[in-house]
């Protein structure tokens, strides 16, 4: 088993008066892609937001590379090398695609500072980014926004990516590109925690997997194991057998 980058121990989160996470335990090994699966409302998004410091755990502990980040502020967490793609994408619709990316490239003062090979790489994955470079991001199509959101997370190298349902709204061809991209990132030692509903996508990428239900992690193990065991899938995910290719 490889080194652990991110670890959640008994994390509870409240939103206002509601108790959402009831003790989440999660381990994300370094350099691997971990899938976080679960039904609607299981608490996946809440888990990611809690890691990111957008909501604070009321109990429990979150450690990143050995450091306790439970009480840290979001910007601190981000600057220690974490990128986040929220479920709602969080596009700055007033700004152009270029400006969105410029902001995401934290170390760049102007565009010239961004590594051009990395930009080209992104353009290759998502040609629309190049085409709409100077367009207001708010005018992009649903899938293009999703691409922009992912592009922002990978415009500079980060040690950990938290990605919430990146495949929704994407055409199959682009999904294939994204799978390829995540593989490359992994090869470059980037750790990824991915929330996904598209099991097919998950199966192609995941190294390990955690399944959530009702604010807890109810299963964790290797992806290969889950992919092989259809009855486990149907038990955990309600996947009707063979419903999806």
């Amino acid at each position: 088993m490889s080194e652990v980058l991110l670890k959640l121990e008994g994390v509870h989160t409240h939103i206002g008066a509601y108790h959402i996470l009831h003790g989440v335990d999660l381990v994300v090994p370094k350099g691997q892609l971990t899938m976080l699966l679960g039904r609607n409302g299981a608490g996946k998004t809440t888990t990611l937001r809690t890691i990111m410091g957008l909501w604070h755990a009321s109990q429990g502990r979150i450690t990143l590379a050995g450091q306790d980040i439970t009480a840290r502020q979001t910007p601190d967490i981000a600057t220690s090398g974490v990128a986040y793609v929220p479920e709602s994408m969080g596009i700055f619709s007033d700004l152009s695609v270029r400006e969105n990316l410029l902001l995401a490239a934290r170390s760049a003062r102007t565009l010239d500072d961004i590594d051009t090979t990395r930009l080209e790489w992104i353009f290759g994955l998502f040609p629309a980014m190049k085409k709409f470079w100077n367009h207001p991001a708010g005018k992009l199509s649903g899938g293009q926004k999703q691409m922009l959101a992912v592009s922002r997370a990978i415009v500079e190298p980060r040690q950990l990516l938290l990605i919430d349902e990146p495949s929704k709204g994407l055409a199959p061809a682009i999904i294939q590109n994204m799978i390829a991209a995540f593989r490359e990132l992994k090869a470059a030692q980037t750790t990824i925690l991915l929330v996904e509903q598209n099991f097919n996508f998950a199966r192609q990428l995941g190294d390990s997997v955690a399944v959530m239900d009702d604010g807890r992690v109810v299963h964790s193990g290797s992806m290969a194991e889950l992919a092989a065991d259809e009855s486990l899938q149907s038990k955990l995910l309600g996947l009707s057998l063979g419903a999806h290719q």
Binding site: T74, A78, P86, D94, E99, L102, L103, R109
Partner: protein, 317 residues
């Protein structure tokens, strides 16, 4: 951008005499510069940060009152008929005014603005409350009376361009205004500050998730806006040659109009808006004084009908 010369040219035949026209135009442009200086802080605070700060005027008044105190303590420098000595008094007055206004901005941001980012209605109320408190505190400290703020000796009077007279002080205002404009354009275009603020207004969480301390940034910009307002107060007070505690409230509507004409968030837009307002006031004041009362409002409504977002919108709110 062509609007300003267009308006000026359109007025020429109406005014008739070229020298009168020149006086009016130069005075109007210079007035526009003064208005721009007092409005410049608001482009940051309202235009970029989307904070409907009805208390902005209080920083203007504060700047002016601080200037009265500073200048009063340097009476010999302002009374001297030497531009250099005058400037030696004026510069510290401006700096102190900006510092004090900026410091108050820090407190204001923390206690008044921070809880209400993104909530316009509450911003209006809470900043109005802040405005009232500020104005009353000015009365407690400086008293309710009008306080004279005489112009330094060398800036009085006018220079003659043929038959047209241009007040010297207005030329000073043009210089200061240009400097403010240049500094703002440089900062907003050469750094990511402007982008970050706009992004932060739309989605604070996302900006923080990208690793920026939006809180600190907002404080910084708010303080800068307040300091600019303080500078504007000094310029406005010197222009009026006296200050009253209500002066902030008096210019409030005017500067909001300027920012809206310009299109939210654009420095250039604010400058154009201010110049238009300055020119318009002078032309209508000369041609049909009755209408001058409504000239700003009419200008704003006309511009919004033509361009619902203002002249140079940077943000699409």
């Amino acid at each position: 951008m062509a609007l300003v010369p267009l308006l000026a040219l359109a007025a020429l035949p109406a005014v008739g005499s070229p020298s009168t026209w020149l006086t009016l135009t130069v005075a109007g442009l210079a007035m526009g510069m003064i208005v721009f200086i007092i409005a410049s802080g608001l482009t940051l605070v309202f235009g970029l940060m989307d904070v409907l700060n009805f208390g902005h005027g209080v920083f203007i008044a504060l700047g002016a009152f601080v200037a009265t105190t500073v200048l009063a303590s340097m009476g010999s420098y302002t009374a001297a008929d030497s531009l250099w000595l005058n400037l030696l008094a004026l510069l510290p007055a401006m700096l102190v005014a900006m510092a004090v206004a900026g410091a108050l901005g820090l407190v204001f941001e923390r206690f008044i603005i921070r809880p209400v980012y993104g909530m316009h209605l509450k911003q209006i109320l809470i900043t109005m409350g802040g405005m009232i408190i500020g104005e009353e505190m000015i009365k407690v400290i400086w008293g309710p009376e009008q306080i004279p703020l005489p112009l330094p000796e060398a800036m009085r009077g006018a220079v003659l361009l043929g038959d047209a007279a241009v007040e010297k002080y207005r030329l000073v205002a043009v210089l200061v205004g240009t400097a403010v404009f240049a500094a703002m354009v440089w900062t907003l275009n050469r750094t990511k500050v402007g982008l970050l603020i706009r992004a932060g207004v739309q989605d604070r969480e996302m900006v923080e998730s990208l690793g920026y301390r939006i809180k600190r940034l907002f404080v910084g910009v708010f303080v800068a806006g307040s300091a600019l307002a303080g500078l504007g107060g000094v310029m406005w007070g010197l222009y009026q040659q006296s200050v009253i505690p209500q002066m902030g409230a008096q210019v409030n509507v005017l500067i909001f109009i300027v920012i809206i004409i310009g299109g939210l968030g654009s420095t250039l837009g604010a400058l154009i808006g201010a110049l238009l307002v300055g020119l318009m006031a002078n032309y209508t004041g000369f041609l049909v004084p009755k209408v001058a009362l409504f000239s700003n409002i009419a200008l704003m409504v006309a511009i919004l009908l033509w361009r619902p977002q203002g002249v140079y919108p940077v943000t699409s709110r």
